[in-house]
Symmetry: C2
Subunit: 370 residues, 2 copies
């Protein structure tokens, strides 16, 4: 792979992603100024993740919004593959989904795909992934979703509800389709080959159109769902895509739940957060203080700055000042990291309390199988 190439699939993200190219490759639409102003008109707000292009691309979001304005509701669906503990990158689409739920006052389904992670990870048992699913669910609940309008799906637990829907989808997908979309080969296990139908199933769990906020790497699953939907007389799911959250160790991949170094977990202590960022945080700074003061840093590749931009500094003026100070050399890498460490630890302090409380409420959120 040459330096200007990149790979984005549901199971592998590599290289320096050119999101303009990716949008063309995937055939999605960039979120236009018209869509942004329509969202602002409906919600009365201008979410920083939209404004900053963290959510950058979509499929049929305009249709969802137009119909909403005509009084036609929709529901939300997002999810997570529970291959390990939750890290801060996972929270990005969830926080945005919560905002959508509040502003549009709609139901949300959150799917934990314990079966998928079992099929794709040779070292994980189904017991492992089901345990991670329950752990991840706590982080989701901790963000403050409305229990009246929020249901958590765990695939193995809710399979009785999902399977008859997945079967409708599975009958309309052949092996060629999965080869073309996922690059499957004759060596791919039959669990993985079937699995995409289960990721499709929540799209049709309510008799309404669905909007899915998700990492752009998951788009291929729903490309299949969108092809199948009219064949089973269902509306095509609409999507809104976020960029990949960079690993702590730098661009060229996504933050991965299974790589300790590249990841800040939601359960990390303040000391661990500090150590990880100071030790592994990929820096856009110069080789020494003198050079940094002279030439300035590069916030566009600095992971600490990116985390502030993506999630932890929601105030545009403050973010702008940090950007300029770092770029001019006024702010040192250590100072930038200190800002991020403080922000993350403040966030995690509250999150970890809410995560504890979530243990008591978990059962309220789990989808029933009837």
């Amino acid at each position: 792979m040459s330096s200007d190439e990149f790979v984005v699939t549901p199971w592998n993200v590599e290289g320096d992603i050119d999101y303009d190219k990716l949008t063309k490759q995937f055939g999605t639409q960039k979120i236009s100024p018209e869509i942004l102003s329509k969202i602002k008109k409906i919600t009365g707000e201008d979410h920083f993740m939209l404004r900053r292009g963290i959510f950058f691309s979509h499929r049929d979001l305009n249709v969802i919004l137009d119909n909403f304005e005509k009084g036609k509701k929709f529901f939300l669906y997002t999810g997570r593959g529970p291959s390990g503990n939750t890290h801060i990158g996972h929270l990005v689409p969830w926080v945005f989904a919560k905002w959508l739920q509040e502003k549009f006052d709609v139901n949300i389904y959150f799917q934990l795909t314990d079966d998928e992670k079992f099929y794709t990870k040779s070292d994980l048992t189904l017991e492992d992934t089901s345990k991670f699913a329950l752990e991840n669910a706590l982080d989701f609940i901790a963000l403050g979703f409305n229990p009246e309008k929020t249901k958590i799906i765990i695939n193995t637990r809710n399979i009785r509800r999902l399977y008859p829907i997945a079967a409708q989808v599975a009958k309309k997908i052949n092996f060629s389709n999965t080869k073309a979309v996922f690059g499957f080969t004759n060596d791919t296990n039959v669990g993985m080959i079937f699995y995409t139908s289960l990721q499709s199933a929540p799209c049709f769990i309510e008799d309404l159109p669905v909007l899915i906020p998700l990492g752009v790497d998951q788009d291929p699953h729903f490309r299949i769902t969108r092809d199948v939907a009219p064949k089973i007389n269902k509306p095509k799911p609409a999507l809104i895509h976020n960029i990949m959250i960079p690993a702590l160790t730098g661009p060229g991949g996504k933050m991965s739940a299974s790589d300790e170094k590249s990841t800040i977990y939601t359960t990390d202590s303040p000391q661990v957060v500090k150590k990880k960022i100071n030790k592994y945080g990929f820096s856009g700074g110069q080789v020494d203080i003198e050079k940094h003061r002279e030439l300035g840093g590069n916030p566009d590749i600095d992971v600490s700055f990116q985390y502030l931009r993506i999630f932890f500094e929601q105030d545009d003026d403050k973010l702008k000042k940090i950007y300029e100070d770092y770029k001019s050399g006024k702010m040192l890498t250590g100072e930038l990291k200190a800002i991020l460490i403080e922000k993350i630890n403040s966030f995690l302090k509250i999150h970890q309390q809410k995560r504890e409380e979530a243990k008591k409420n978990l059962s309220k959120f789990l989808l029933s199988d009837e």
Copy 2:
């Protein structure tokens, strides 16, 4: 396909099957005189379906018997693809399974694969196949299985119990395996590709070895299961195979639930049974009575005689007399058919009563999902 060729797969049976060749092709063992005498020793009986070679082949049946003699139990598992109403051919392995249950005093699981028939039949909905599943269950229960030791699995209904087991199997099967065993292609739908893991799942539902009485056309599924079993630390299932039950219209296929003409349903009235056999029953007789008296008939290809041999005349002496009288020309085709009609109608009279009673007991037999 030339006249000496035949095809036997779980979804297609064609041609005049040479069971010796099939045994070699599939790599199964013929049931030996030693095995027959061991079964007789254990059960005190000599079941006519064994004696007559209706059950003709096996995998590891000797292991099951040897272990049983040493005090090691097993359980039974068989099933049916609910693509239509039950016909008399379906009852053959079930009647034999019931005998095994009684004689060995073991549990039996009966799987109704409503999902499979949905995946493989373009004209059937999942509602159709689930409805057929419940209808077929009544015929199974009507045969008199012990409700304490018998559980009926309906795939969509019991998927929560089956799926975690199926997932263990699915992770160890790749697309190549399903191509090799079932002849799947790139056009095969992903439901069918995954499905074999669900047919494997009941093999591992108890922590004991399993013995599966089944039509030999289903053997390929369990060839896969037997390859996978050691990889998931489970015993290989043992199998005992019955021959294909010929269609009413003659050899060169199996009786099919979806072809009205080739099939006698368990719910057919005496008049319908009489009409179907007289009208469609493939005959080994001569073109007219004179020729028949002169040359005699051929019981070996006569479907009415075969039905008596396979199921409806359990008395060897009576069967032998019919064979000889038909072969010598003493018995006419109409007379032979009349014997079969009487036998089937006597059987169905009682079966249909028991089938009605089964409606009350259905819930006792359905596997719970916990």
